[in-house]
């Protein structure tokens, strides 16, 4: 075992005292919402901003110069199975997270500034941290949120109070003086279902919980046919509208996942987009994408908020490319259904009523003991990879999965469980595309085929510079022309990618960054050659 020399020990003590002092003197967290409406120099939260558009104001990298992009630095994150997290960048520091841990890097060079570790160590997947008001917030795998000083990693508080829960690893949402986290299992035993929980940003004190499964007194309980509700896991982060003071989350499937016999009814609030009051956690409205789901079509895909003129009327909309194959447009002030259009070529689990948006399942596609082929597969027409919306092109970019799957029940019992497979028919095998959809009409405008990539895949971002940064499951990263989808540059990262990318700038230079395998890679344009250097 390595021991500190006395000099090192003194240095550690000095560093400890310094950190403490800076924390005490540093700016305390405020209740303000300090994130810009659009990410630019910083990328402070998972989706870049509260609206999850992943539309950066940075313009240095353009279709004209993208072919000059080159690797800038790389950082290996030790001890994890892989990275699904989106690093966040604030004030020149990049924060890479896992459960119970943060690595803080110089965003210009990748050099480590500090590392934070807390027991129990785990290699499990996790999806990110959030930074606000000089603090980094990260979840633990034993049901706590931690607040760390962003400059040193010193722990400021550990959340306290409230029901014991298990978090799903999604990044915390910092909004209106609160930290919101979500998960799959409320309570300590059994299937307590999905939940969203809020803590005070200043102190870490428990504030409120919203549960995806209705409790006694809620009329939604009737949608379970007298049976005990189960499921509704909430395993992806939400969006926030600071003016409406509403947070938006998607909820997961009802349980049992593939057998609906034991839960007749719509099974609220599973497979819903929900809007909650940020201060109270009360449900403002909900929209259910897939009632009585038997294909595990979680509605947990990233919800994108935008303001647009829809059919001649200015609207505040919520956009979602749903796992069930439909691209939805809702009015986010009240949950009014505006439109749903398929964004993959084959959707046969059911249809969507064009007036009400109500999903109508086709009984012929119920999972059976023999096996039923259904499109899209349970993996979905898309999944957690983040989409992006570019108001300049009017296009909504999404990682789309073409293909179908087989759902086979283990038995005919009402609680039968099983898994799912890719369809054995070649024409229905899985293939990923980076797909551009007209955000208003849902029409597919262009496709970029991710050769060999067939499963989940990474998310996307777009910029005012006119590009889409498009990583692929099988390790390639490409820069595409946001208008046409033409590939302008590519780089093989050498590992599988299941995270979503980010962009930021330091010293006036734009960086593109992505987690590939257990490495963070960044890219940028070359330093300009000066006139003096050009001389022989």
């Amino acid at each position: 075992m390595r021991r500190f020399s006395s000099g090192e020990g003194a240095a550690v003590l000095r560093a400890f005292l310094l950190a403490t002092t800076v924390t005490l003197c540093g700016s305390a967290a405020s209740a303000q919402d300090s994130y810009p409406a659009q990410p630019g120099k910083d990328w402070p939260i998972y989706g870049g901003s509260y609206n999850n558009q992943r539309y950066s104001s940075l313009k240095e990298i353009t279709p004209a110069n993208a072919r000059q992009l080159q690797g800038k630095w790389m950082y290996h994150v030790e001890g994890l199975q892989g990275l699904e997290s989106v690093p966040v960048v604030v004030n020149g520091v990049m924060y890479v997270s896992g459960y119970n841990r943060i690595d803080a890097l110089d965003a210009r060079t990748g050099n480590v500034i500090w590392r934070f570790r807390r027991q129990p160590a785990t290699a499990a997947y996790q999806r990110g941290a959030a930074v606000a008001h000089n603090r980094v917030y990260v979840t633990t795998n034993d049901g706590h949120v931690l607040a760390l000083d962003a400059r040193t990693g010193a722990q400021i508080w550990e959340s306290k109070g409230g029901p014991k829960v298990s978090f799903s690893g999604t990044p915390p949402m910092v909004a209106n003086g609160k930290i919101l986290v979500s998960g799959n299992r409320f309570g300590t035993a059994g299937d307590g279902g999905g939940f969203i929980q809020a803590y005070d940003e200043q102190t870490g004190d428990y504030r409120w919980t919203w549960r995806a499964l209705p409790e006694n007194g809620d009329p939604a309980l009737e949608s379970w046919g007298g049976h005990t509700p189960g499921g509704g896991p909430i395993w992806i982060g939400g969006a926030y509208d600071p003016e409406l003071k509403l947070v938006y989350y998607g909820t997961g499937q009802p349980n049992p996942q593939w057998s609906g016999k034991g839960r007749p009814g719509d099974n609220l609030y599973s497979d819903c987009i929900v809007a909650l009051d940020i201060d109270t956690g009360k449900l403002k409205w909900y929209f259910q994408n897939t009632p009585h789901d038997t294909h595990d079509y979680d509605s947990t895909e990233i919800i994108v908020l935008a303001d647009m003129t829809f059919k001649g009327k200015p609207r505040k909309v919520a956009l979602q490319a749903n796992r069930n194959g439909y691209y939805y447009i809702l009015d986010r002030t009240n949950g009014e259904f505006l439109q749903a259009t398929p964004f993959v070529s084959r959707v046969d689990w059911g249809t969507v009523d064009p007036k009400t948006g109500k999903g109508l399942a086709d009984p012929a596609h119920e999972p059976t003991v023999k096996g039923t082929i259904t499109c899209p597969s349970t993996a979905g027409a898309t999944n957690w990879p983040s989409p992006a919306y570019n108001p300049a092109t009017g296009l909504f970019y999404v990682t789309a999965t073409e293909g179908c799957g087989v759902n086979t029940l283990a038995s005919s019992a009402p609680d039968s469980e099983t898994s799912y497979l890719e369809s054995p028919r070649d024409k229905e095998s899985w293939q990923l595309y980076t797909r551009a959809i007209d955000a208003k009409t849902g029409a597919i405008k262009w496709d970029y085929k991710q050769v060999r990539s067939n499963h989940y895949g990474p998310g996307l971002l777009t910029t005012e510079g006119g590009i889409v940064f498009s990583p692929e499951q099988f390790g390639q990263v490409s820069v595409l022309d946001a208008k046409t989808g033409r590939s302008l540059w590519h780089y093989n990262t050498g590992d599988l990618i299941t995270a979503s990318p980010l962009t930021y700038s330091e010293d006036g230079h734009q960086y593109l960054a992505i987690a590939s395998g257990t490495n963070i890679l960044t890219f940028g344009l070359p330093e300009r050659v000066t006139a003096a250097e050009k001389k022989p």
């Binding site: 030790e78 001890g79 199975q81 892989g82 699904e84 027991q119 129990p120 160590a121 785990t122 290699a123 499990a124 997947y125 999806r127 795998n141 799903s168 690893g169 799959n184 499921g231 896991p233 395993w235 997961g252 499937q253 349980n255 996942q257 595990d296 979680d298 597969s377 349970t378 993996a379 999944n383 957690w384 799957g405 898994s419 799912y420 497979l421 890719e422 369809s423 054995p424 070649d426 899985w430 970029y448 085929k449 991710q450 050769v451 060999r452 067939n454 499963h455 989940y456 692929e472 099988f474 390790g475 390639q476 490409s478 590939s487 590519h490 093989n492 050498g494 590992d495 599988l496 299941t498």
Partner: protein, 298 residues
Amino acid sequence: MKRPLTKALLIGLVLPLAILPAQAQRRAEPSGPANPFAGNSQAITQGELIYNQNCTSCHGPNGGAGEIGPEIIHNLSVPLRGELNDNQILDVIRNGASGTVMPAWKGKLTDDDILKIGAFLHSLRGTAIDNPLPGNVAHGEEIFWGKGQCGSCHMLGGRGALRGPDLTNVAAEYKSNLIVDALTKPNHRVYGDGGVHLRALPAMDTYDAVHVTLNSGRTVDGVLLNQDSYSLQVMGDDNELHLLDRSQVKAIANKPALMPTDYDKRLTKDEFADLMAFLTRQGRKAPVASAPRNADQE
């Protein structure tokens, strides 16, 4: 709720490296007697039951990784076989892995139950060479090079051809039933499972026969070893490796599959059994204990 964060099931011909937390990997390498339940089918069945009752919530069904714990087996790819040997796994089950959430099961389960879990995990990790099929091996070798014409595509022990996968180590890489399937089932493809997390970028394992036409008019016939959005890697029928830029490619046409899948019909029952006896013995068995470190390497 199917997603890698919560479930990852096994699939695939190329399967991932079993990753245990660093502390577990660094633990001492206990030697010990062979597991008395190893290969005992009744004990393996009991071990599976005990595993399902105690282990799946972290490590997933069949050890394929779960919400909390890592994948602890993969059953097909020997070079990437789990880094812990059988005795090391038993040690982790008994005593836990310090610094991780893996608890010590000693005292919670009987040692016989722990050994049965070990036998079950061993059975998952085992490949054909651990339990080769019966038959006349020497006659099987004759079939391989003669009537079966296997050597016209495959190499084995440095002899044969290059279009198909090398079979020198086939029994140490695959289970017997997969080898039988490859010779008898059309459309022998392993379909994607919803929850799986690959742990590395595999080459294609489909050996698709292709006819590639380049913009220049030149054509290349061969087997597609891999491709991405920008390049192709083709093993040509001319025995040359062709590394192609997708921008140079005008068209790629698929040709009929090269691999016959009716060996159970084109061979007699005994011939097929003998061929399988030969194939299920090709390869190097994984050591029971980890190989000693070479002192010169450190």
